[in-house]
């Protein structure tokens, strides 16, 4: 361990460790002040936010510095904790710091008295969660990676179980923990393979190993399985729509925004960095899984009626898109096309950081709405724009960015992704050449559907008339909550308007992973974002926004000047039907109905139609996840069947037990002879 010299010349890694320890201290302080909710809300969480900003600053400066290594005295005797801060971890630390700063400030204003677990305990779990996330990104050997990886799952499990009075939340917590642990076991076995019989679990040693294609593929599939379970890739996604809505909103924001990215970081670290062998079908596998997850996620998010489940499914969609981008980059890297691999990887990284910002913003807005109205179902909300402008407008920016509309970060990520998918003329096998444009078509469709979902989300909650009388007393967000949301909004806008600077930040990461980068072409094109060549494609968000605003302002002024600006408030046109009520607006189910009709085979619908003889006719449609019935229910019944079989072993009769002992003796004697 290095001596504690003057803080001026500390390594970036030391500063990150300072932030991590600070978070843990704040957590412990939370435990001390268990019930004093005011202290926790106004002192501890903002302190956490301050350290997040510090982490962001350190990450920014570390992005361009060379990799730093440190060894902590903790851990197994022969395997102390190895930590390493390279450009990939710096990028993710930047993401963590940025998002957690906003979410911590929001969380400061989020707590009310006497709700579920004491705020002090939540503060501990929250900051332990943050600390473990930051450490996962620094881990440089299998043991410390697994320890902090499962501590992350462990602490977020308690966050999900914050108000465990409700049975559904307990069920969600259980499912979440189970899938997280199964995934962790998968990762453990993958690391077991990666160290290839050397017994040395450090990543440096793993990088030096050259696995045979077979064992390399087994390790990669285990990694995709393990990290996919945490990221919510298709077959293992069932926990995400249960767990994220169950957690209090600021934490589901952090889980959706940051934790899913850490799972994808895992795939990046193992797939690109640790495994030196590159095989082309790995990319195709990742792309296929990614796109299937994305399509599944977006289709399901359109038909949800609970706002947090809608966002959870939308997170699944975005994770799928990022995975597809990574898969394409791996495909290019396998064929040695560095430039295109870098383009695809930059698209994936850009999508990660923009999704982190706008998804946390949307979850924070649901938190504010939930606290103001106490209502989570979309069916009972509406018209909150008038009562909660400070929440509505930032959410509008989040919605536009999530829908991938031009001036914001979401569009730049989608733009880069489409560019990388489009220019694939050089792939040797014709089948792949054919496959990639089809995937580009799917990405376009998925992005468009994302827009559909977001219009439904914003329209049903904030616009129109309040569908329930008590919505009128909805109070706007507090000072802390506004501050947190504004921070996240600036993040989204900055990502949208200054892509060149962001891509310059991602340059070291792509250089590290695929030894190629976009920086040189992007750097010298000033305002224009030119990934490959000026003639190929270019996009200048600032000029684009300027154009729209200029024409907006010009028309506004000209119309006021040439004509007039008189306006009068009148009741809306009711087409001769006087009893227009708020309930006549489109409900959440209604808005999702066309998608439900088009993508019929995707869903497992349970309809209860009213009959002629009903005293109180009611219509209910429940849309369930088909995978739950195709994969999980048979799996559970299989385990039950086998355990019933095994149960027969313990019948209670002593003679039978003696028989077991006798037969084992005879059998083993025969075997040994």
């Amino acid at each position: 361990m290095h001596s504690f010299t003057h803080p001026g010349d500390w390594l970036h890694l030391d500063w990150v460790l300072v932030v991590v320890c600070a978070w843990l201290l704040i957590g412990c302080a939370g435990v001390v002040a268990l019930r004093r909710f005011r202290l926790v809300a106004t002192v501890l969480f903002p302190a956490g936010a301050f350290f997040s900003i510090l982490l962001m600053a350190v990450a920014l400066s570390a992005a361009f510095a060379g990799p730093e290594v440190a060894v902590l005295p903790l851990g197994l005797p022969q395997l102390p904790f190895h930590l390493r801060l390279d450009s990939l971890s710096a990028f993710f630390l930047l993401l963590i710091g940025g998002v957690s700063a906003g979410v911590s400030t929001f969380a400061a204003g989020y707590f009310r008295k006497g709700e579920g677990t004491p705020p002090g305990l939540i503060c501990l779990e929250y900051h332990a969660f943050l600390a473990s996330i930051a450490m996962v990104v620094l881990a440089d050997d299998a043991y410390v990676f697994m320890v902090v990886w499962e501590t992350m799952a462990f602490s977020s499990f308690f966050l999900v179980m914050a108000n465990h009075r409700i049975p559904e939340i307990r069920r969600a917590g259980y499912l979440y923990m189970l899938v997280a642990h199964i995934g962790a076991l998968g990762i453990l076995l993958c690391f077991g393979l990666l160290q290839a019989n050397t017994g040395d679990y450090t990543f440096a040693n793993m990088r030096a190993q050259h696995l045979t294609p077979f064992w390399g593929s087994v390790a990669f599939c285990l990694a995709v399985f393990g990290f996919g379970a945490k990221a919510g890739l298709l077959p293992l996604h069932v926990w995400l729509p249960e767990a994220h809505p169950a957690a209090p909103s600021p934490f589901s924001a952090l889980m959706s925004g940051v934790m899913l990215k850490i799972a994808l970081y895992g795939i990046l670290r193992v797939g690109f960095d640790l495994l030196q062998t590159r095989i082309w079908w790995w990319g195709v596998l990742l792309m296929a899984v990614g796109l299937a997850t994305a399509l599944f996620g977006v289709v399901f998010s359109t038909v949800q009626v609970d706002m947090k489940r809608l966002l959870a499914y939308s997170s699944i969609e975005n994770v799928g898109l990022i995975c597809a981008g990574m898969g394409l980059s791996m495909l290019f890297a396998a064929y040695g096309m560095q430039a295109l691999a870098a383009l695809a990887l930059t698209a994936a990284l850009y999508h990660m950081i923009s999704h982190a910002f706008f998804k946390s913003l949307l979850f924070c807005s649901t938190g504010a709405v939930l606290h103001a109205t106490g209502e989570r179902g979309l069916g009972k909300l509406g018209g909150l724009m008038r009562y909660m402008p400070w929440v509505a407008w930032p959410t509008l920016i989040g919605v536009l960015s999530c829908a991938g509309l031009p001036p914001f970060g979401g569009f730049v990520a989608e733009w880069l992704l489409l560019q990388s998918f489009l220019f694939t003329t050089g792939l040797p096998s014709s089948f792949l050449d054919m496959l990639v444009p089809v995937m580009a078509a799917m990405i376009a469709l998925i992005a468009a559907l994302g827009g559909y979902t977001m219009v439904k989300y914003f329209g049903v909650i904030f616009l129109g008339q309040p569908r329930d009388a008590k919505l009128a007393q909805a109070h706007d967000a507090g000072m802390w909550e506004r501050l947190g949301m504004l921070w996240l909004v600036t993040g989204c806008v900055a990502l949208g308007l200054f892509p060149n600077q962001m891509i310059a930040l991602m340059e070291p990461v792509t250089q590290l992973l695929v030894r190629g980068g976009l920086a040189h072409t992007v750097a010298d094109s000033g305002w224009l974002l030119v990934p490959v060549h000026i003639d190929r494609a270019s996009y200048a968000p600032a000029i684009f926004l300027l154009g729209v605003l200029a024409s907006f302002g010009l028309t506004y002024v000209l119309v006021r000047k040439l004509y007039h600006g008189r306006m009068r408030r009148v009741p809306p046109w009711d087409c001769g039907h006087p009893w227009q009520t708020a309930r006549m607006q489109d409900t959440a189910e209604g808005f999702g109905q066309p998608i439900r009709q088009i993508f019929e085979p995707f869903f497992r619908m349970v309809r209860r139609l009213p009959t002629a003889f009903d005293a109180k006719p009611s219509y209910r449609v429940e849309v369930e996840d088909p995978l739950w019935h195709w994969l999980y229910v048979p799996l559970v019944s299989l385990v039950e069947k086998v355990s019933r079989l095994v149960g027969l072993l313990q019948q209670g009769r002593i003679a039978v037990y003696l028989m077991y002992s006798f037969v084992t003796l005879i059998v083993v004697l025969l075997v040994v002879k």
Binding site: R644, G647, Q650, G652, R653, A655, F662
Partner: protein, 221 residues
């Protein structure tokens, strides 16, 4: 005398094997206890003979120990127990007797084939008896499985101990003294505890049938 001893040892061994067989097929408890006592006596005789032939005094001590325990005290205690619990009815087994006999023979063949390569190497004069001892152990093991009453199960357990002690004395001229004492002590205390249990089972289930000791199980739905 030197040539006579191995034959005598083998005689005692076959006697013990015969007794084990008869105990398996025996239906009445009182005669079961007596057979056990006779088996104990044969064991004592074998150890005295071996002690005399190999001039090892501790074999005499182990013989006396077995005599006191296995021939006098335990049978007396079991008889008293049966009189007090007035358990006099016959002992039905789970499988009918012929099948148990067939299985018994199979076991004997198996243990002989198992012990054959070893007994050739043994220097002690009664090398061959290892197979017989193993057969006694397996037979009494099977007896415990097939009996559905508490007392026969205990007797099966004790005759297994007899087989083991016999193996120890014949194959390696007895175990070190400290171990002999330990084994004897354990067996004694074990029997005492089993006696206490039988009282409690009798008092709790007012029958010594093992069938009502089957409540703890996991195969229910």
């Amino acid at each position: 005398m030197s040539t006579l001893a191995p034959q005598l040892i083998n005689l005692f061994a076959t006697l013990i094997l015969l007794l084990s067989f008869s105990m398996i097929s025996q239906r009445r408890i009182v005669s079961l206890i007596n057979l056990f006592a006779i088996q104990g006596a044969a064991l004592v005789a074998a150890s005295f003979l071996l002690g005399y032939v190999t001039h090892q005094p501790d074999l005499y001590v182990s013989g006396v120990l077995t005599l006191v325990l296995k021939v006098i005290f335990i049978p007396w205690m079991l008889h008293r127990l049966i009189r007090k619990l007035n358990v006099r009815w016959d002992v039905e087994t789970l499988f009918n007797v012929p099948t148990t006999m067939l299985v018994g023979i199979g076991l004997v063949i198996f243990s002989f084939s198992l012990a054959l390569p070893i007994s050739r190497l043994s220097q002690s004069i009664a090398g061959g008896s290892l197979g017989i001892a193993l057969a006694c152990v397996l037979l009494s093991f099977m007896m415990m499985i097939t009996r559905s009453k508490a007392v026969p199960q205990v007797i099966g357990f004790l005759s297994m101990e007899n087989g083991l002690i016999f193996a120890a004395t014949t194959v390696t001229n007895g175990m070190p003294m400290i171990v002999e004492f330990g084994i004897a002590l354990d067996v004694l205390v074990g029997v005492l505890i089993l006696g206490v249990f039988m009282f409690q089972i009798r008092e709790k289930f007012d029958s010594l049938d093992i069938h009502n000791l089957e409540t703890l199980k996991d195969d229910s739905a």
